[in-house]
Amino acid sequence: MTDPGAPLLSVDHLTVQFRVGRGTVQAVSDVSFDVRRGETLGLVGESGCGKSTTGRTVVRVQRPTRGSIRFDGHDITAMRDRELRPVRRRMQMIFQDPISSLNPRRRVSEIVAEPLTIDRTGTPAERAERARHMLSSVGIDPDQAGDRRPQEFSGGQCQRISIARALMSDPDLLICDEPVSALDVSVQAQILNLLAELRAQRDLTMLFIAHDLAVVKNVSDRVAVMYLGKIVEIAPSDELYRAPGHHYTAALMAAIPEPDPGAPRGQTLGGELPSPLDPPSGCRFRTRCPAATERCAVEEPPLVEIAPGHRVACHFPLAGRTATP
């Protein structure tokens, strides 16, 4: 029996390494977080910060190097494919590029019914009926769309079809990897609202991965900020916005183009993510941090709780919050 109060997903000291030539890259470095039932956790950071690798490792598309992943009370870190199969039905993923993640040679009705076809759930007629129902619930007219192929649809419609397919096996956990970053802002708003509705209707738990903090904040209850493979800050969404503790979080907020001509233009974060092959010593953000001192180069800051549920990895967190008790 599983404890209903326990988190649905627990990631503990997760490290993922890739071999590159003669060296190794730590794409994810000692990352821990929980996602409670019904909660949406946002993972935000720049390209290369390890947020997508974290998502892929959670569904075990990618093998973890160290650490553990527990899903609904079961340790799935080392499960074999056959054991994983029933678990994977309960965790589904949607991706950034909705058009290329759908098979161009299949009809939309087949694409959406496929998860059931693979599992041989019900009769073909039952599967088709469920696919029709699911398409309607994501705002696609099954009569008009069912016989057409993905390339006849816009990016936003393809993302709706991807969502329909992901929900066919009635998953508990939905992992969304940059689901709206390829879409126009007007379509982005439609997809974000759709995800919020489906989440409420189906009691979904979500891991929402994106680079735009305004988008992540809109859909998430809590947000974890990643930088070069590490979580540097984690807090409830509104708290994170009100009182960011990490300088990197503040920089991510300043970079968002606010639709307000009077908005003060924040200090732009200089440089790019350093090579993960050779991450900076101490605090990995220090090479781009306006507040870095010598201490940051030698001593790696641990994640410290600065307020209930708000943890920051910084020796000199931003004003308003102090790391020392």
Partner: protein, 355 residues
């Protein structure tokens, strides 16, 4: 002889310096397709004053990319009809031959494309792609071109430029590739830069860097810029004036502050409202625009936005609203029932929320 002087000498202004650098008048671009004629740009007029930035904003399919390509004259040779005039520094570009246009492209007007991975040649080193136009247009020798290319890379914020000149595009990050694109566009000192979604697909941090860089280079080089985007947030603090396009037409244009303070066209307001704002509490439902832009083969009669507009009346569905001025000549819009300070003057006629 400096490159700058060379280009101006080759293309003297045929107008007054107080005139707009670019004047587009009643530009229409139609593509013939098997299903019918698509008027992607339909009677667009706009002007861009010297040294300013005009933001062109609209959804996918609004015609904003075809507009920038039509201004440049970069259209397929067959199956396209273009009418109207594009006057640049007093000369009509639409009347020029391909040969004459080649003295305009790169030298006078340059374009920055959305996707640097496909716009750059993947099998040519970055250096060769920058020096190509320097040698062709400005007649530089190999050594001079190479030095200038390194200086250009440095000016767009690329560290160790000498080393980067030898790199292939695939060896650079997305942000670096976009900087290379900008360096290529600026190589010959163009007076007008058309940036078509220059930051779409980049991280927000890199987007801010690229937009800052464009603004800084514009100041240094007194360039004029057209910034095409789907995101009003991108142009809010960077454009002097904004042109909103919908279904191939300009539906509103105004100085940036005026547009945000007092949008007249419901579509403009809807674009603003669909952007998630950091200051809004988590879980805030976003305003959306119901439905999708119309098919341009058979656009709706009347106002093209009427089928999606929450305040559309009968008149909107039958009769097309002309562009008219709101208070000043600088602010024009096309709507029968304009908003006042963002608020409608008529009751909601249908629920404007998409399924």
């Amino acid at each position: 002889m400096s490159p700058r002087r060379h280009t101006v000498d080759a293309f003297p202004d045929a107008d007054e310096l107080s005139d707009p650098l670019l004047q587009v008048t009643d530009l229409t671009t139609a593509f013939r397709t098997p299903r019918g004629t698509v008027r992607a740009v339909d009677g667009v007029s706009l002007s861009v004053r010297r040294g300013t930035t005009v933001g062109v904003v609209g959804e996918s399919g609004s015609g904003k990319t075809v507009l920038s390509r039509s201004i440049m004259g970069l259209l397929p040779p067959h199956g396209v009809e273009r009418s109207g005039t594009v006057t640049f520094a007093g000369r009509d570009l639409t009347a020029m031959s391909a040969k004459e246009l080649r003295s305009v492209w790169g030298l006078q007007i340059a374009m920055i494309f959305q996707d640097p991975m496909t716009a750059l040649n993947p099998v040519k080193r970055v250096g060769a792609q920058i020096t190509e136009s320097l040698r062709l247009h400005l007649g530089m020798d190999r050594g001079e071109a190479r030095q200038t290319a390194a200086a250009l890379l440095e000016s767009v914020g690329i560290p160790s430029p000498e080393k980067r000149l030898r790199a292939y595009p695939s060896q650079l990050s997305g942000g670096m590739r976009q900087r290379v694109m900008i360096a290529i566009a600026l190589a010959c000192g163009p007076r007008l830069v058309l940036a078509d979604e220059p930051t779409t697909g980049l991280d927000v941090t890199i987007q801010a860097q690229i937009l800052d860089l464009l603004g800084q280079l514009q100041d240094e080089r007194h360039m004029t810029m057209i910034l095409v985007t789907h995101d009003l947030g991108v142009v809010a603090t960077r454009a002097d004036e904004i042109v909103v396009m919908y279904a191939g037409k300009v539906v509103e244009r105004a100085p940036t502050a005026t547009l945000f303070a007092d949008p007249k066209m419901p579509y403009t307001r809807a674009l603003m409202d669909s952007i998630p704002r950091l200051a809004d509490p988590s879980g805030t439902r976003l305003a959306t625009i119901a439905g999708r832009p119309p098919e341009l083969i058979d656009p709706p009669a009347g106002c093209r936005f009427a089928p999606r507009c929450p305040w559309a009346q009968d008149r909107c569905r039958t009769s097309e609203p002309p562009l008219r001025t709101a208070g000043s000549e600088a602010h024009t819009f096309a709507c029968w029932y304009p908003l006042t300070n963002g608020r409608p003057s008529v009751p909601v006629t249908h629920d404007g929320v998409a399924p």
